[in-house]
Symmetry: C2
Subunit: 448 residues, 2 copies
């Protein structure tokens, strides 16, 4: 499906259906901060869980980590962030707006055409003071990336997990960058959540593993429903490579504002472990029992963002359709990502239907994330479930009281099938695992 939707429509759906709200909205909002509502928090959880399952749980060469946001300031000296993690900033002398110098096409203010100051370097790390005294010795930074938490724990993880190389360490968590320019909804925010893997390998095998992870990560997005047409791989040019990187690919997505980075996969060589070994005075090496060699591992880093993945999944799933003369907005989300898996909808709010519908709800809700909705017309309730991407609606009607059967409606095909309540969980489970996308012979009738 083409990602041809305007960002405004996504922002509007997100607000309307409880995916994403402007942060602190009752106080006028806070620049570039967003809060995830009831549907957004479920979608985000599902993105995190899908990543963790693919990268950690289904592999025995990767383990997890959850390091603190506040780390020793020397970590950021060793990593190069204190000295080098800065953008050139210019101010307009007329209108006072501030811009990133390296993003300007002309040497005048894009806002008002005024003259600009000379560029000054501005460090992107948020800083605060730990303990009651606001003095130099008490400065701590909010981490600008989760990666360094992995590097400084490399030895502890290696020792306690008793694993051999290649070994990956994965982490999900918040990071903070005091960006001068933010925007495009949740694409670039100052507070954001990362999905980072540092995969440590023997030098000489790094190019093979680099290629492996580029492919693996690209395929992950496709498996979860993003169209290949809206994804591209882009290799960084030599002049574009970060100082620590030997090679880097971006996985770009065709966002409404154009191709933009969804994930970066970098070959960081031994830069990070060597820096921390030097700065801490510790030997950080790996002894390879097979080759009888000691070396500093190289590291391959696939680094993705939760928030921009959520945005890409929303955009790619979004469609305004006209079906049999009726318009609907629908999110064709992969069942693993859909916030709600099943909605139980009694045909109407009625003293006979309600008890049975509640029973059906209770039967399902321990197995799947389930919604119960008996307000408004059945048509409006279907539309609402379509807009939040619920793969299946279960309708309880008056016949259900007699035949103990209910109707399952498929979000994408709109096909309906009548099934016994006692088989409902098993059928839904199978369908949510993927059979749902087949035009299976089970789907008998098309919705009127």
């Amino acid at each position: 499906m083409p990602a041809n939707v305007e960002m405004d429509k996504i922002v509007s759906l997100c607000k309307r259906r409880g995916f994403v709200f402007p942060s602190s909205e009752i106080y006028g909002g806070l620049a570039s901060c967003w809060d995830y509502g009831p549907m957004g928090v479920e979608l985000k959880r599902n993105v995190r869980d899908a990543w963790w399952k693919a990268v950690v749980h289904e592999r025995d060469d990767v383990v997890g980590l959850d390091s603190a946001i506040m780390m020793h300031p020397r970590v950021w000296e060793a990593s190069g962030h204190v000295d080098g993690f800065a953008d050139p900033m210019v101010d307009c002398k007329s209108c006072r707006l501030r811009w990133r110098a390296d993003e300007l096409e002309k040497e005048i203010c894009p806002g008002c055409g005024g003259d600009l100051t000379e560029p000054r370097m501005f460090n992107l790390m948020f800083k605060t003071f730990m303990g009651p005294l606001e003095q130099e010795a008490n400065i701590v930074y909010l981490r600008p990336e989760t990666a360094q938490g992995i590097f400084v724990n490399f030895e502890n993880v290696l020792t306690t997990s008793r694993k051999k190389l290649p070994l990956g360490i994965a982490q999900i968590g918040k990071s903070f960058r005091n960006e001068i320019t933010t925007g495009n909804f949740i694409f670039r925010t100052r507070e954001f959540e990362q999905l980072e893997l540092e995969y440590f390998v023997r030098p000489g095998t790094d190019e093979k593993w680099f290629d492996y992870w580029v492919k693996e990560r690209f395929d992950w997005y496709v498996r979860l429903g993003i169209s290949k047409d809206n994804l591209r791989l882009r290799q960084h040019g030599k002049d574009e490579l970060a100082h620590y990187a030997r090679d880097c690919y971006d996985i770009d997505y065709l966002f409404p504002m154009g191709w933009s980075e969804l994930e970066g996969i970098a070959n960081r060589g031994d830069f990070d472990l060597t820096q921390h070994a030097g700065a801490s005075g510790r030997e950080i090496t790996y002894f390879d029992t097979e080759s009888n060699e000691k070396y500093v591992p190289y590291v391959i880093e696939p680094s993705a963002g939760v928030d921009r993945s959520v945005l890409a999944f929303l955009i790619d799933a979004y469609d305004d359709e006209e079906i049999e003369g009726e318009k609907r907005t629908v999110l064709h989300l992969h069942p693993d990502l859909a916030p709600i898996k099943v909605a139980v909808l009694p045909l109407s709010r009625n003293e006979k239907l309600t008890p049975l519908a509640r029973d059906v709800y209770r039967q399902i809700c321990t197995g799947f994330v389930t919604d119960y909705d008996d307000s408004q017309s059945i048509g409006r309730r279907y539309r609402r479930q379509d807009e939040i991407g619920t793969p299946f609606c279960v309708t309880v009607d008056f016949d259900s009281l007699e035949d103990k059967q209910v109707t399952i409606r498929d979000r994408d095909s709109l096909a309906q099938i009548r099934v016994p309540i006692e088989e409902l969980n098993a059928i839904l489970e199978a369908k949510l695992k993927g059979e749902a996308f087949d035009s299976s012979s089970l789907w008998a009738t098309r919705q009127k």
Copy 2:
């Protein structure tokens, strides 16, 4: 089981087995910051998931939220945190150590006996600057609690979720308090993770719901394996109640340092919504279609900590046992909380056993979080799995090559049973759901 273990033993196990490491350890550590290692991150995920399942997914009167850590500064003025979230602090004039005045038993320095300064109030919120200018207008705070993110989103959630009261909004996330005194391992840290529910009800029904949630939350810990003997309910005295609270119970756990708060359940009345209505100039009320009344909801707040829950679960599960003349350390963690559900252990590393053991691992690992370990003796590998609380070990031996059966060993009873590989997943699934704790007739032989 009595929680009679010393904290040192827990800290040592956590380091040794990869649950918790001192943060930034290679740089000497950072005061009161801790990193969760491969086992810790899984345990923490399981605690979060168990809470979310019980509080959100299995109920249709609670929805989730994930609001930003950085919020508009006016949120913290309205909530009372800017003026009132402070502790009295004194300095020793001799040794310069700093203390909380309200925690001192005498008016001299507990460190050196020196004279102390007059108490000064110290605000516990971390502050930083958003945007490049370090000026008053750009101050933002790191949230000291997740609760306010819920209150300021109350209207947005109510409107988009189309739910009626009583309605709960649940949130899991990091909060930050610049505590003067920290300690007791992960019990009190400056960066910590909260499990907060704000349950909005009609005034007049609040006492009933308060009692309900006190019981519900107490039972949650018991269901997940914490001994009732190590839990107590403690009602706050009138002089102890926070200014916003009409009533409050603590769920205390018998930690090694004594009874300490695991969770607080407060009846906050309409304090928060009224404060935000006043400060934002918006009417924040609920129109009850059944009674045809408009009112400001009261709110019941069960507020727990991920980190101290993790600590309590570890302590309560810990045991040093002597069984048939052999000593072992074991974590009797509830299967839902155990970091690893099943370990596949070939009897030895052997070219015949390895392929079959890998097949068994691959068969299991898509269904359960599974470890594969073929290093060292089988006895040492059992001990390791006991120490990380793995409920079941699956041993692949030379007979398995012939009879296509493997042995399941139960962590708690040490009983072993022989089962066909093709039935393994179904048997493990049943056992992990609770039958595992029965001394079922299936368990035939006792481990030698």
